[in-house]
Amino acid sequence: MIRKPIPARWSLALGVLSVLLLLAAYTGLSLWQHHRNPDDTTIPTWSQLGAGVKQIIEPNARDGQRWLVADGKATLIRLFLGLLCGIAGGIVLGLLMGCYPVIEALLVPPLSLLAKEPPTAMLAVFFVLVGTDTEMYVAMIAFGILPTLSQTVYLGVREVPAELLDKASTLGASQLEIIWSIIARAIFPKIIDVVRLSIGPAMVYLIAAEMLVGDVGFGYRIRLHSRLLNMNVVYPYLAVLAAFGFALDYALRLLQRYCCPWYVSGEK
């Protein structure tokens, strides 16, 4: 019985069923809450949620902005800039650490310490060091994901068999070519994996920072409307966040499958 495979149709049906059950449970919960208190906004009904969604996507009466567009733009720019810096820095540092023992000895101790420091706990430090503009969000995300990322890259580099590197040098590869054409390519799928894992933390750091200092963005809107108990605005925002994270993850998986057919099929 244990690990006995089930037909693919079944697993699809069960997956759909679990989502439906979740939705039904929510509907029940909100109906019950509204039975107890018809004016409730904390567990909004579907029609309340619909109104919330409308509020998010239609231009706001006071400032004429579409909240979702304005917040999405701000948050995405911060997230992507931060991810870009963090990933680029992490890859470069990881490659250097994996290739050159001097840099390894220099950087591994501080990075392994920093990797254990939750950046949300250091929010105030970031305010102090880089202010509260876009740089702060970018720095926070970048420093948040860089230690883990560079360590993973570094370990990945170390795992590349020495024979492959020796072989490349017998084929006439320069140092740069070994790093770029051999090591970087060999660990590329691992880099995608660790980037996928970094998106979650990056969003945590960003939302936490936006909750404190943002005047636009997902974190700002969620905190504001939590305080105002407009859960019909908060829940759609959470759903958008989840959908966005899922989509990004899926895109990266596709990229990995497309760019590294040898790795994905190698896993099987």
Binding site: D39, D40, T132, D133
Partner: protein, 362 residues
């Protein structure tokens, strides 16, 4: 044998859980009704935390301090940041909360609420701090003013603009957590020429950076920002609800008496300030001055019954509607339930009156 071990462990675990569950059930059946009060660190609200520390009440559920025994009710204290307090109260996770008159309006739309006890009013505790080169409010036109949006900070800012005859549209109120805004100003970060924050951030910023000053503060709008204890109507209607209200009132005035008594004043003040901020005694005296306590039942009654409070509530409600803090204006009532049966938010002096009557009859 191994399998039997498992079974025995399983049965033991179930038995243990059952015992605990039954104990809980019996515990809940105990005669003392229990009500929860959410509070955050603020001079006049920390009184409840101090009352727990000096054992006037016991804030843990199921444990009673002398005041709780006196009124026959169990007060459960839930300490949280201000935001979570609002959310907890609004979503019905606590019976009462320490919030401002302005922030009470939104939850009352879905959860009819009663203000039973005004604690204090901001009298300088909310302030617009600017750099030295700014001497006139007009210099701030088009510049960013940082503060927490849709809170008393924004209210204080907008009301002062009104009093100065300025148009709100000429100014850029920018959302930022007051702690972060104060930190940015203390660090002289560029662009942070004006922040509007509350205490302890006002005093901290003034203490740490000598080249800034207060352009205006809440002294120009006395009594408009009221810190109060708000209880859900449904909780008051439960058995023991009234006793809970009276016990909360009793606790508050008991601490105020200690503040008035020269023997215990400093020690209580320090206790109040301990978690609130690392301000010294001198600064704490200032804090208490800027957060003007309604320290006697008489003062409290005056606020709850005064016609000017009714005017203020109208003004605050209009502000909340125009700034989208509430989707619609709640009906605001004054007096007991019979006087305003349909009010979403009611300022009710009868609990303090009842407390006074019972105190005098002793």
């Amino acid at each position: 044998m191994k399998r039997h071990c498992w079974e025995i462990a399983l049965i033991a675990a179930i038995a243990l859980l059952a015992t605990l569950g039954l104990g809980e059930a019996f515990g809940a059946a105990a005669p003392t009704p229990s009500f929860s009060l959410a509070w955050s660190e603020y001079p006049s609200w920390s009184t409840f935390g101090v009352a727990h520390e000096i054992k006037l009440i016991n804030g843990k559920k199921g444990a009673l301090g002398p005041i709780e025994k006196k009124w026959g009710v169990d007060i459960e204290l839930k300490e949280a940041e201000y935001d979570p307090c609002l959310v907890m109260y609004g979503s019905g996770k606590c019976d009462a909360a320490c919030i401002t008159n302005m922030d009470a309006l939104n939850p009352s739309l879905t959860r009819p609420s009663v203000a039973i006890l005004p604690n204090s009013t901001s009298f300088g505790a909310d302030a617009l701090i600017v750099t030295k080169d700014i001497t006139d409010i007009k210099q701030l036109r088009g510049k960013k003013v940082y503060g927490l949006a849709k809170t008393v900070s924004e209210y204080c800012f907008v009301r002062n603009l009104e009093l100065l005859g300025e148009n709100e549209k000429d100014y850029v109120f920018t959302n930022m957590d007051p702690a972060a805004a104060a930190l940015a100003m203390q660090q002289k970060q560029s662009g942070f020429d004006a922040i509007i924050v509350w205490n302890p951030f006002v005093l901290e910023t003034l203490n740490r950076r000598k080249d800034v000053r207060v352009l205006f503060d809440s002294t120009s709008i006395p009594g408009e920002i009221i810190d109060m204890v708000v209880v859900a109507q449904a909780s008051l209607d439960q058995p023991g609800g009234k006793a809970f209200a009276l016990a909360v009132i009793d606790t508050y005035y008991a601490i105020n008496q200690r503040l008035a008594d020269p023997k215990t004043a400093d020690e209580t003040l320090i206790a109040l300030g301990e978690k609130f901020s690392h301000l010294d005694l001198q600064s704490m005296r200032k804090v208490v001055k800027q957060t003007r306590f309604y320290s006697t039942p008489e003062e409290g009654l005056k606020i709850l019954t005064s016609p000017s409070t009714q005017e203020i509530m109208k003004k605050v409600s209009a502000f909340c509607v125009s700034h989208e803090i509430v989707p619609k204006a709640p009906t605001i009532g004054f007096g007991d339930k019979t006087a305003a049966p349909n009010a979403a938010f009611r300022l009710d002096p009868t609990y303090i009156e009842e407390y006074l009557k019972q105190e005098k009859s002793k």
